[in-house]
Amino acid sequence: MSTVAANAPGAAGGGLSDVAASEASLRRFLHGLPGVDAVGLEARAATLGTRSIKTSAKAYAIDLAISMIDLTTLEGADTVGKVRALCAKGRHPDPGDPGTPQVAAICVYPDMVATAKAALAGTPIQVASVATAFPAGRAALPVKLADTADAVAAGADEIDMVIDRGAFLSGRYMDVFAEIVAVKQACLRADGTSAHLKVIFETGELQTYDNVRRASWLAMLAGADFIKTSTGKVAVNATPPVTLLMLEAVRDFRAQTGVQIGVKPAGGIKTTKDAMKYLVMVNETLGDDWLSGHWFRFGASSLLNDLLMQRQKLTTGRYSGPDYVTVD
């Protein structure tokens, strides 16, 4: 992942460098983005959802999906033992089949980063930490920055921050922008490298597709390396239309600036069938360039076991069952 150049705030070319010069220019830009027709967007996502992924395509997609998972535990009840178990699962998702790919990352709260880091030592699996007063983001900026810096210091490879939805919804786009820029700064390590920054919009709270498109561009302009739908902690999390819209946003951003941004739908993606639909959207909207764990992630916990059961079915020709995959 170190080969991937990080997005830098204000680094966007393509004539976008002045966009965030003022509150007014930022607002003008975000409100000048093409509108989103909800019916059309949902229809397109639904049509892509009817693609029939069989045999060799299914085998490829299952392994790809496993390698894209940010295997997540974000519970108040998390313990060192639970996190270690999750890390073991991420390293060997199917102990019975060493050919099974490893997951992309383990996603935890900041205080579990050190534990996860130690448990994953020697593997390419990343440690992602949520930060910035996840999931609500309702804390003062210094608290959010301290939260971030703490996770980075503990060894987090990736930071999943939440935006200030209150500021966004009340039209204070510059506040949201500045906060992302500040968190990005806090991702810097002493050696000059930087943790990768994923920016969570909580699309279920932004509600409208126009808002999601604006939030996507706002975050990309502010230096996000990944844009992410949801925390998994509200009623509506990732949906195919919202994710499709964000895929279109990263596509257009690269076309305009040359900078490639990743996308992470999170929450509510539980089945292989769901995952296939997302991969089809990536495939037909962005193509090969995004078809890897570098550029597309699933924020999920129960998804992995369903993928493993489907994988076993493809290998053995029989459905196994929940007792043939490990609970963590």
């Binding site: 029939s52 193509g287 090969d288």
Partner: protein, 496 residues
């Protein structure tokens, strides 16, 4: 055979490479799901399958493979006469039934269609060439919905706005095209039966199989004999049917030329006539349009059903200020269209329905190119057997170009530009047709203004090719007259 193999590979900005890492394995629907296809078919007259009085037989082929699927009878004047007499005989009892009883039969037909929808969808794909994704997700649901909808009207005709106890016309002669064989059948038969008429229907000569299968459904539903009669054959059979003196109503969907000749034939007679003919619809994209969804709408407007759609958005009118942006996005999207085996569940564009239609598309597009319009198709491999035409764009098109005026009835889009809403309206209306139009803008007031100015029977706003049984469909000018669907669709079959 003239096969279009021209696949230019002009570079699209930021192409989506979908053929690489994640290649979809074949996902074919089973042809066996279509059920048994007989070696040869006669007509369906008086509730039974009967042989033709003549010996001439036609063949229907699978346009994706050119394999013969079945032989069917070329209906003679005598066959037509027999069918009309059977319909006449059935008319008395059928029209005397209480509307609620007629409704029961229609509900039953609708339910059987739903139950047998997979079979019908596969059969339709095989006979027509359209992708299974469309027959499964669009044609069959719409067919069933149409029967359900008109079943509901059967006992409520007093409240349809045509006065108390409106009367049926009698025997309806119905001639339908090959582009949506079963759906066109539903649009014709459902309102006719709901209002108490009996029918003789002639399916198109390249796509008779689902109509003949529908005849079996009529038997399964226990529909009284003679209420629905199906006579197969080519234009000669159609002419014999529409000119039959005992027919009270003629409903035709097809080309403007044939529609014109039917209108001439019927002039001075007491037959009621409704025509649904050609189109050259404008799909108008303003600079404030939701671009991604507009591109989907453009693609759906012209490449749906291989462009074999009378209301296809075959002229893209795009505001000059977003021309390049829209065209780039459109080409990028077109590069992801999957052309091929209609029975593969991932196919977006299937086979052209017939060799004759392929020849016509080829001729018109070649003429367009010769006139100087710039032609573009994404690089795509077309199967070696069957009738195929790659999705095609013409840019630099003006109102004077052939490809902007003639109905091509294929996957061919002509791109024109405009500067102001007034110019968009002028160009959109500057056609002898007037079946449909599309408007793409985020500005609601402009949608309403445009819809009032456009001389088109259907105006879609921020969508395209949406159909619903509750909504009337029909044209202005040379696109025909009369409406199908909705309450309005009842009028064509009532003596009002």
């Amino acid at each position: 055979m003239a096969k279009n193999k021209k696949t230019e590979t002009t570079t699209v900005t930021e192409p989506v490479r979908t053929s690489g890492l994640f290649a979809y394995a074949p996902a074919p629907e089973s042809p066996a799901a279509a059920g048994d296809i007989a070696g040869s078919y006669g007509h369906f007259i008086g509730g039974e399958f009967v042989d033709s009085s003549g010996s001439e037989a036609l063949k229907t082929v699978n346009p994706a493979t050119e394999q013969v699927l079945a032989e069917f009878a070329q209906g003679t004047d005598e066959d037509v006469d027999r069918a009309v007499k059977a319909a006449r005989k059935a008319f008395g009892d059928w029209s005397a039934l209480p509307g609620s009883e007629r409704g029961k039969y229609l509900y039953r037909i609708a339910r059987i269609i739903q139950e047998r929808s997979r079979e019908l969808a596969v059969l339709e794909s095989i006979d027509n060439g359209k992708p299974i994704r469309e027959t499964r997700d669009f044609d069959l649901p719409t067919v069933a919905a149409h029967f359900f909808y008109y079943a509901g009207w059967a006992d409520k005709l007093d409240y349809a706005g045509f006065g108390r106890n409106p009367q049926p016309l009698g025997v309806a002669a119905q001639v339908i095209p090959w582009n949506f064989p079963l759906m066109m059948l539903a649009w014709k038969i459902a309102p006719a039966l709901a209002t108490g008429n009996t029918v003789v229907l002639k399916p198109a000569e390249t796509t008779p199989l689902t109509a003949l299968r529908f005849a079996e459904i009529c038997q399964q539903a226990g529909l009284p004999k003679g209420v629905v009669n199906i006579v197969t054959g080519d234009g000669r059979t159609g002419a014999a049917l529409t000119s039959h003196p005992e027919v009270n109503k003629v409903a035709f969907t097809g080309s403007t030329n044939v529609g014109r000749s039917i209108a001439r034939q019927l002039a001075g007679s007491r037959k009621k006539l409704s025509l649904e003919l050609g189109g050259k619809a404008a799909n108008i994209v303003f600079d404030d349009a939701p671009i991604d969804q507009a591109v989907e709408g453009i693609v759906n407007g012209i490449f749906f059903n291989q462009g074999h759609v009378c209301c296809a958005g075959s002229r893209l009118l795009v505001q000059e200020s977003v021309h390049d942006e829209v065209l780039d996005a459109l080409k990028r999207r077109m590069a992801t269209l999957r052309v091929g085996d209609p029975l593969d569940k991932n196919t977006d564009i299937g086979a052209v329905n017939s060799a004759a239609q392929l020849a016509r598309i080829t001729e018109l597009t070649d003429a367009g190119e010769a006139e100087g319009a710039e032609r573009w198709s994404p690089s795509c491999e077309l199967p070696s057997a069957g009738y195929w035409f790659a999705p095609t764009l013409f840019t630099g098109v003006t109102q004077a170009n052939l490809v902007a005026r003639e109905e091509i009835f294929g996957p061919v889009l002509s791109v024109l530009t405009f500067r102001t809403p007034t110019e968009a309206v002028e160009k959109a209306n500057n056609t002898p047709y007037g079946l449909s139009a599309g408007i793409w803008t985020e500005k609601g007031s402009r949608i309403l203004w445009m819809a009032n100015q456009l001389k088109a029977g259907v105006v879609w706003a921020n969508t395209f090719n949406k159909f619903d049984p509750t909504s009337p469909f029909g044209g202005y000018k040379e696109s025909g007259y009369g409406r199908e669907g909705g309450r309005h669709g009842l009028e064509a079959y009532l003596d009002v």
